[in-house]
Amino acid sequence: MNSAINATNATMAPVATPYFFYGLATLAIVSAFLVITRRNVVHSALALIVTLLSVAGLYLMLYAPFVAGVQIIVYAGGVMVLFLFVIMLVNIDRSYKEKRFSGLWPIGLAAASALFTLFLFAFIKGRALFPDRMMLLPESSNTQQIAGLLYGDAGKMGQYTFAFEIASLLLLVAILAAVVMTKKRA
């Protein structure tokens, strides 16, 4: 709740204090770790919700309240409920007794750590690419500006209007796919 308040008045004073950042980042990473290690899938899902919410907090600190709102509504409120629903639908008592990780887990872990090293290497080497500057975004009209990009302003088509329509088509396809696949074959 506090982070929300802080982000709101960010136009006045940048109160996005490092403490909040570190707190949210730690929360996100720790619960992401829990997501992939818990044996119980519901615990994983709950941990994922925590990750998603703390990422939403990070969005607020980045002056992106609309994205944060979408994150909460779509991810935490929609997608995760769907996940929980499916978890309960497919009764997975059996998986408690099974191994959590596949036999190839050392290779997977090695590949992933190599990837992380690569990332860090890129960040350090390409430091010049990521300047320390942080622009102040107009927070109070964030939604309106995103709307301008998506739908266009004053009769003019927006930059992403077409892509946006395509996205709606994608969602439609996904809905149809879900319905077709879950429906029982007669």
């Binding site: 997501v35 596949s102 992933a112 990521f130």
Partner: protein, 102 residues
């Protein structure tokens, strides 16, 4: 304390991304793998929003909204596959998905 810069966000995002990759590569439960994919997409989103802040325009945020829509579609389709799979094999274990057809 060091002021928070874009790099901080990038590192957090990289960590989330890698955790997601680890989840996809090592876990056997299909539900967890789908959730790991969500983690990966979120890491990308975080990067985009951080870049949006860095450049001071909203294109990154718009992209992250697209990705959110994509993630929702992916979850719906993925869970649909999961249910169809569970119906046929009574399991959600990816190791047992080894047939092209059944």
């Amino acid at each position: 304390m060091v002021p928070i810069s874009t790099l901080h966000y990038l590192i957090v995002a990289a960590a989330l991304f890698v955790l997601g990759v680890v989840g996809v590569l090592t876990r056997r439960n299909l539900v967890v793998i789908l959730m790991s994919i969500e983690l990966i997409l979120n890491a990308v989103n975080l990067n985009l929003v951080a870049f949006s802040r860095m450049w001071g325009n909203l294109h990154g945020q718009v992209f992250s909204i697209f990705i959110t829509a994509d993630a929702a579609a992916e979850a719906a389709a993925g869970l649909g596959i999961l249910i169809a799979f569970f119906r046929n094999k009574e399991t959600v274990n990816v190791d047992e998905i080894d047939l092209l057809k059944w």
